[in-house]
Assembly symmetry: C2
Homo-oligomer: 338 residues x 2
């Protein structure tokens, strides 16, 4: 199997990306994987020189352009033909690699996935999913979390199908429970979209649908897939992020407010570290884009080497689990109206 890596994408590229690649290549479990590295020539050569033992498992593809976070994604993707991201997608399209991993611009990644790889047959709209930890020690896939605003009911049905496939094949969860994000747990709660989706999901025999879930349940561990419109998924994800920042900020401020609490704060520091680690996206890998002809993992923009390692691990399981074919077959076997 071959994974295409955008070495130039992300806040800490190329060092963090190459560091993650090294960890991945050296790990016992992935000895049958090869990496195709797209990026600035001298960085690639230095990396190859320093890791001569890995030479037979890396292929270097020097590129001359980079798509930045501040560019218009579509325009940049169309214009920068020799960028690391465009070349990586072209390689997957040509069948010379199975999955793209990038910590660069989300917009450019979505553009590339759609323009170059294209939607899988039968998929109405690809979904960007995010894997989050739960308080019960498992994880939950929020799907969609930003690729689609203004979804039709059939989109969300397919998000359920693709999310289930991902959790089964990549996260190893048997018969994952699927919930629908709504403004109340009762079946009659919701907006026009979610009411229709609730009705439809209830009738899908292959989906282990447990009903509506409220936003506060995101990390409860009550389900493994949470289906929603991308606008709402974005609100939920960023709301959680904002709340975490506010609370930890207030706690720190309060702990340095008096001598007594200052000492407490210093002693309590390890607890903060535990919580941060538990909430850490780096532990869980990147965001999979589901429904295009090839694997796509969006690593967080601020990824360090460890986050990239985890994204590569995720890409490996994706390819190993044959996720693209599974999604294609499953979507093809179910008639879903818009």
């Amino acid at each position: 199997m071959k994974i295409a890596v955008d070495v130039m994408g992300g806040d800490h590229a190329p060092e963090a990306i190459l560091g993650g690649c090294k960890q991945f290549l050296e790990a016992e479990s992935f000895r049958d994987a090869e990496l195709v590295l797209f990026g600035e020539e001298s960085a690639l050569r230095t990396f190859a020189g320093e890791n001569a033992a890995l030479a037979n498992r890396i292929r270097l593809v020097p590129t001359t352009e980079v798509i930045g976070f501040d560019e218009s994604p579509t325009a940049a993707y169309k214009k920068k033909k020799d960028s690391s991201l465009v070349r990586a997608f072209e390689t997957v399209k040509a069948g010379e690699a199975d999955c793209v991993v990038s910590a660069g611009s989300t917009g450019a990644l979505l553009t590339g996935a759609t323009l170059t790889l294209r939607r899988q047959k039968g998929v109405k709209s690809p979904a960007l999913a995010t894997l989050l930890p739960t308080v019960t020690g498992g994880c939950v896939l929020l799907c969609d979390c930003g690729a689609n605003t203004d979804c039709k009911p059939g989109y969300l049905q397919q998000f359920a199908v693709m999310g289930k496939a991902y959790m089964e094949r990549v996260a190893g969860v048997e018969n994952p429970r699927v919930a629908l994000l709504s403004n109340g747990t009762e079946a009659e709660k919701g907006n026009a979209l979610t009411k229709e989706v609730h009705e439809r999901l209830s009738q899908m025999e292959d989906i282990n649908f447990i009903g509506n879930a409220e936003a506060r349940e995101l990390m409860s561990g009550n389900f493994e897939v949470l289906v929603c419109d991308g606008f709402d998924g974005n609100v939920l994800l960023k709301g959680f992020e904002g709340a975490a920042k506010v609370i930890l900020g207030l706690l720190k401020e309060a702990m340095y407010g008096s001598l007594r609490t200052k000492i407490g704060g210093l002693i309590a520091k390890p607890a903060f570290s535990v919580v941060k680690k538990k909430m850490d996206y780096k532990e869980y890998g990147g965001a999979p884009l589901l429904g295009v002809n090839g694997g796509v993992i969006k690593a967080h923009g601020s990824s360090d080497a460890k986050a990239i390692y985890n994204a590569l691990r995720q890409a490996y399981t994706w390819v190993d689990g044959n996720l693209v074919s599974v999604i294609g077959e499953t979507i093809g076997s179910i008639q879903i109206e818009d």
Copy 2:
């Protein structure tokens, strides 16, 4: 001025509600206010007996029914004619009180406001707003947070108008900054609804519109009114709530995980208290329902006496600021399409 109080609504009714009424009546600032109390006769009589000095500022209205949290709101509201909530609304409708305060079922409150008080002339749909603290020490009004799913653009424009009026007249904020909840700060980000609303709000001269805001900014203090569809407002509010619960839970667990952190946890306890107080809805009063012919404050279901006191204080400022008339005049003066 007269405030109608649903003494039977809420988890801790009637004790907590009556406790809040007592605090309010005894406070220096509200000596010109009278309370009309709706509830179970013996509870009201006991309260009146114990507070003989306040007798000239309370009116007791014994009622025989209560609308519970587990009932269908509309059916219960229509059926239970002698419930504390229905009688309170009828009294405001009859002009014998200016504002209803209830910690009971939100659904029943919305039903009562719509069926009994009715929408103000020109208001497309009343909005349930929530007042939240910000990290900069101010507060922000999230509007709508649950009364309306499937909003049309004109609804959100009116939420901006009503939210502005509330923050000016009740919270005392001059020319409040209004933001629009979206999935990105750029003007072109959003779904079909928010893109249209962005365009329209940009053209409203009387609204201090600062553009889109992401969910993570809710408590940033960058704006005083955050306008959104009620479905998204619910997701945001409950997402924040869920995140807070998860993080504080994990921190506590971690702090009791080892002796060192246990001691730290005990010493750091005051810091937790400070944060809890800062995040405490009880400090900020209830959720105002804007756009009906009368004041309506929904206090939190789990309100204690202090929360009820704050909701009454809020009702007082509402009536004192003549908010219903101000909203009526402002909405009447602006032509807004659906």
